[in-house]
């Protein structure tokens, strides 16, 4: 085992530690987290969970701690990115700091803008947890009252203001029993800015509550994102999660689900659009702990140019979790010779009466489809885009919010114009 003493740090690691030293971040938990990062170094491909995303070599420097931006600068930075949902009540994070623009929250929702508590371990595979623990500045604790039916979408918007900011924030959402609510979390930034965005969200869904959550990853072309969403689901809770990722340069998004109540229905569907030299890694872990729960997970990935994609899907079914029904599918279109995608399904099943299925496919656009469309007069580009759109369309078609699906559909079209 390497020790911290003789370790040679990379530029990325040095930048992290220098950022920590330069910032006035105090507290035992932060110190312990940074000590763990120093001790372990960033995970390399030798760490199984990072086998396809060697963080140590991929995370270069070029970021530093940013101060709280002025309201004016913060507004300007956000104005460049029109909202995804009209009429949403949005919590704004800029460079990892919470900024209060006075947006009113709907009835049933209360927000306290403090950094939520979190737990972390010093395990090398938990680098994202340690990073967030060490650096998170802005935070919000969102509470949805029991029995509330909240029609208005709650937005959580992350945007950089400074160049090269290390922006870490933490949001905790407590969803009361038997509520209905909708969240859209979005990380978006300009190209040409090498910021590092490290958001963590904890979503705790109480008994019988039903949550729709959309995560949109639209980080700038040069940005790095190391994000984690952790979800706990109580008895009869329902979560419909969509993850739509367009880029940055380096994206690792971890999705952790603890299914701890009977009758839980968990539905995850996502689209990853990976072009240029982007590296997008979705690593999910679903932990079925109790009987009679279901989970479905579907990712559609489109990879082109020199893009690299990763999907790691772990499903754990504990011994008591009889009658678990877990289905996972990862379908990928590879559109160029220089792109690649790694899919790793991982099932750990200790119960004997369960249904678990996983499948991964990788293909190019079907020649016969392309020829048929062209024979009807579609130009090759238009035909390819129509087929790519059809491939990802299934995810959009199933989204609850049709207007949001429409908006995202437009963004996908714009992405295809540039990449397909």
């Amino acid at each position: 085992m390497d020790s911290a003493l003789n370790r040679v740090y990379t530029e990325g690691e040095k930048a992290l530690f220098a950022a920590f030293d330069s910032a006035n971040l105090s507290g035992d938990a932060r110190d312990e987290a940074i000590a763990a990062l120093k001790q372990n170094g960033l995970p390399t491909r030798k760490v199984e969970a990072f086998h396809y995303t060697d963080l140590r070599s991929l995370l270069r420097g070029d970021f530093t701690i940013a101060h709280v931006p002025s309201h004016e600068d913060a507004r300007k930075a956000g104005a460049a990115f029109p909202r995804l949902v009209d009429g949403a009540a949005v919590l704004h994070f800029r460079d990892g700091h919470f900024l209060d623009f006075g947006e009113a929250m709907p009835a049933g929702i209360s927000v306290s803008t403090r950094l939520p508590d979190a737990a972390t371990t010093n395990d090398v595979a938990n680098a994202l947890g340690q990073l967030n623990m060490a650096f998170a500045t802005g935070g919000a604790c969102i509470t949805v009252d029991a029995n509330a039916k909240v029609a208005q979408t709650i937005g959580i918007a992350h945007t950089p203001v400074a160049t090269q900011s290390l922006a870490a924030s933490r949001v905790a959402i407590e969803v009361g029993s038997k509520t209905e609510c909708t969240f859209v979390e979005r990380g978006v930034g300009p190209d040409g800015n090498t910021y590092l965005h490290a958001p963590a969200t904890d979503l705790n869904i109480a008994e019988g509550a039903s949550v729709t959550y959309t995560m949109v990853i639209e980080e700038g072309a040069d940005a790095r994102r190391l994000g984690r969403l952790s979800v706990w689901l109580a008895k009869d809770a329902k979560l419909k999660l969509n993850v739509i990722a367009f880029g940055g340069k380096l994206v690792r998004q971890e999705l952790n689900f603890v299914v701890q109540g009977e009758g839980v229905e968990l539905e995850i569907a996502g689209i990853n659009l990976i072009g240029e030299e982007n590296h997008i890694d979705i690593t999910s872990r679903i932990d079925h702990q109790v009987p009679d729960t279901t989970s479905t997970e579907l990712f559609r990935n489109v990879v082109t140019q020199r893009g690299r994609g990763v999907f790691q899907g772990q499903i754990k079914v504990a011994q008591p979790a009889q009658h678990t029904d877990a289905r996972m599918a990862c379908n990928t279109l590879l559109l160029s010779d220089d792109c690649d995608f790694s899919a790793k399904p991982e099932l750990e099943i200790f119960a004997d009466d369960v249904q678990c299925a996983h499948g991964a496919t990788v293909a190019d656009i079907e020649d016969s489809h392309l020829f048929y469309l062209r024979a009807r007069g579609l130009k090759e580009d238009a035909a390819r885009r129509l087929l790519v759109k059809a491939f990802v369309g299934e995810v959009l078609d199933e989204m609850e919010d049709e207007a949001l699906a429409e908006t995202l559909s437009g963004r996908i079209d714009a992405w295809m114009e540039r990449h397909v």
């Binding site: 079907e366 016969s368 489809h369 020829f371 048929y372 469309l373 062209r374 024979a375 009807r376 007069g377 579609l378 130009k379 090759e380 238009a382 035909a383 129509l386 087929l387 759109k389 059809a390 491939f391 369309g393 299934e394």
Partner: protein
């Protein structure tokens, strides 16, 4: 309208020569039937006309409306008015038929320098044509050809042909997989499209389709060449005597 001279074509992948010196002339307003046994090159001819890249033309020429057809790629040929009704129309999951039809019509219009159709005009046209072909409009809300029966697929091909109004229609074994009722509907659809400025090439194994789409000329294809041409009575003769006798006589 179409003049094929000494056409040689091979499968690009393995170099197998399929068309070996094919000559064929089809005039505007003409319905030409191409008949021939399995493996004679009928489908290859239809693919070469539509520009499929899997085939390589090694010799000869195809002149269409005074232009060198071989200079155009697949979508340019379509926009220029060449339409291939597929023997086996492909199913394309996820692409709604209406979206596909609209894109096809508008991209051809655009290529020809015409304006795009408005959505109401487009829907009206599709409804009219679908009705003539006894196609349930709801079927068109499904993805392209997905879950269509064999007959529905062929009707959908003729629907596309009616909407796109090509100048040269190539029907590749449109009768395969059709029952008699569907055959009549499809033949009616094709007959509606007969006009003095449009040519139709009907590729078929059997005389049966030609009872409904009566050809002006009939050409027998064998080993990649037209070995005999005649009027509609040639089809009847083929039916009676079989391919081998006619091909032997011609040789």
């Amino acid at each position: 309208m179409l003049e094929i001279k000494n056409l040689h074509a091979r499968i690009e992948e393995d170099g197998t020569e399929i068309l070996r010196g094919l000559n064929l002339t089809v005039k505007a307003g003409e319905v030409a039937a191409i008949m021939g046994p399995n493996g004679s090159g009928k489908s290859t001819l239809s693919y070469v006309l539509s520009g499929k890249e899997d085939y390589e033309v090694t010799e000869g020429s195809i002149t269409y409306a005074g232009e060198d057809l071989l200079e155009l790629d697949v979508s340019e040929r379509a926009a220029a008015g060449v339409f291939l009704a597929f023997q086996y129309p492909v199913e394309i999951p996820g692409v709604p038929t209406m979206t596909f039809l609209k894109e096809a019509m508008n991209s051809q219009r655009k290529e020809r320098g015409e304006g795009e159709l408005s959505t109401p005009d487009f829907i009206k046209r599709v409804r009219e044509e679908a009705k003539k072909l006894e196609i349930d409009f709801n079927m068109l809300k499904r993805p392209v050809n997905v879950g269509f029966s064999g007959g529905e697929k062929k009707r959908a091909e003729i629907l596309q042909m009616s909407l796109l109004e090509p100048k040269l229609c190539v029907l590749d074994e449109t009768d395969s997989g059709l029952d008699i009722d569907a055959l009549k509907v499809v033949a009616d659809g094709v007959n509606h499209l007969r006009s003095p400025d449009r040519a139709v090439i009907v590729i078929t194994h059997y005389q049966r389709l030609l009872d409904y789409i009566v050809p002006d000329t009939v050409h027998v294809l064998s080993k990649g060449k037209i070995v005999k041409s005649g009027d509609k009575t040639l089809a009847l003769e083929l039916e009676e005597k079989g391919y081998s006798e006619i091909i032997e006589q011609a040789a």
